[in-house]
Symmetry: C2
Subunit: 216 residues, 2 copies
Amino acid sequence: MTSLVLPHRRHGFAVTRQQIIEAAREIMREEGVGALSLHEVARRVGMKAPSLYTYFESKHALYDEVFRLGMQKYRAEVEELERNPGDGPGSLEASIRHYMRFADENPELYSLLFERPVPGFEPSAASMAEAEGLLADAGARVNALLDAGTIRSGLPVDQTRDIVIVLMHGLTSLKRANEPEAGAGEGRFDALVPHIVALLRAAWMPEDGPVPGGHQ
Amino acid sequence: MTSLVLPHRRHGFAVTRQQIIEAAREIMREEGVGALSLHEVARRVGMKAPSLYTYFESKHALYDEVFRLGMQKYRAEVEELERNPGDGPGSLEASIRHYMRFADENPELYSLLFERPVPGFEPSAASMAEAEGLLADAGARVNALLDAGTIRSGLPVDQTRDIVIVLMHGLTSLKRANEPEAGAGEGRFDALVPHIVALLRAAWMPEDGPVPGGHQ
DNA sequence: CCCTATACCTAATGCCATTAGAAATAGCGA
DNA sequence: TCGCTATTTCTAATGGCATTAGGTATAGGG
């Protein structure tokens, strides 16, 4: 009485691994990053939970892989934005809106990257390397804006960058907490964006008009 | 062979309940809000886990009580700040620094109140009532600053208030994520506060000096 | 055609939240 | 003073979780 047995190499290692990651992201999107369960992942990919250990050393390793991929994706998008320079006054607004849109389109990645929703989870060194690059990119972006005269804060580049990040992150975080249903571009926090950009321009460029000579 | 049995009413209901709340806050502070475990709470107060159900209907009910207490505490502190009016230019800075200090001194309360670290936990209606009052308080505070001429944004009060909250929250959130070890007043985000206040004054009060007539 | 590494499984351990139900006692009314 | 009852605690059990140990079938290379 031999039982029906499924083939043991169903799609190839890389494909199965990808399916596991997709299932994990799906659960995090539906239930929250902290609600990820390996049993539930296994159910969705048609496996038993222990089998997942062929693909990931632990639940944290799965979190870590999603973290790394998310960071990679965000950086790729920022670099894409960079390639369409857009140094006009709309450029800063575009950066802020891009950050907010990323959170709207990839809430599970945003949460994992920029909030700390999983007790005990710290991204691995390898994943953090990806994250290091992000701040550097953001610094370069602000530098570009300063050089183009789009902003001119009178502060060191690092502090100028940090203030912009504080605003982007504050807007996004509050939107997620207070208006979880509002889509990209919608809601009272998105409505704030033009005012915030105007505020920065008013404070940082009182005489108005870009300075061709660059920053400092 | 009668076994040694501890007295059954050890401290009175209210006292035991308080001890449970204290133990829960302690765990959240040490391990993160999402890492709360009723078994661990029980261990710390010298009970077995099921006994806790005499005091709280569920783990979520315990979260909810801590949420309510935290909201109460924060509001009480804001109202205290209100009673020492301080309408000078330092007043806005004091509000921002108070928010950051609250997060530093009560990280478990801050996380529970202003982040969403527990999948499936939504504060009860009763607790949310406490939270409603908070935004109203914040609005009143901004109103007071506008009336005193400390700020004069040219925007509706609600949007002015929201921008201030975006900044407070962005600063605090980034500080917690990137400089968890920095104490109150320390670190690069705290260093940003005076610059941000100056930025708001520069953008919102270009001709400088308060306007005795109040806002609008 | 066999051998072995691979990808899956079941069983088990020890956490967790929660429920059911039993026992002990404190403090009240008689 | 005695016993009753509400209160507080317990043990036992259920079902979910992450993880480990160890077994089995098969795909693909020799």
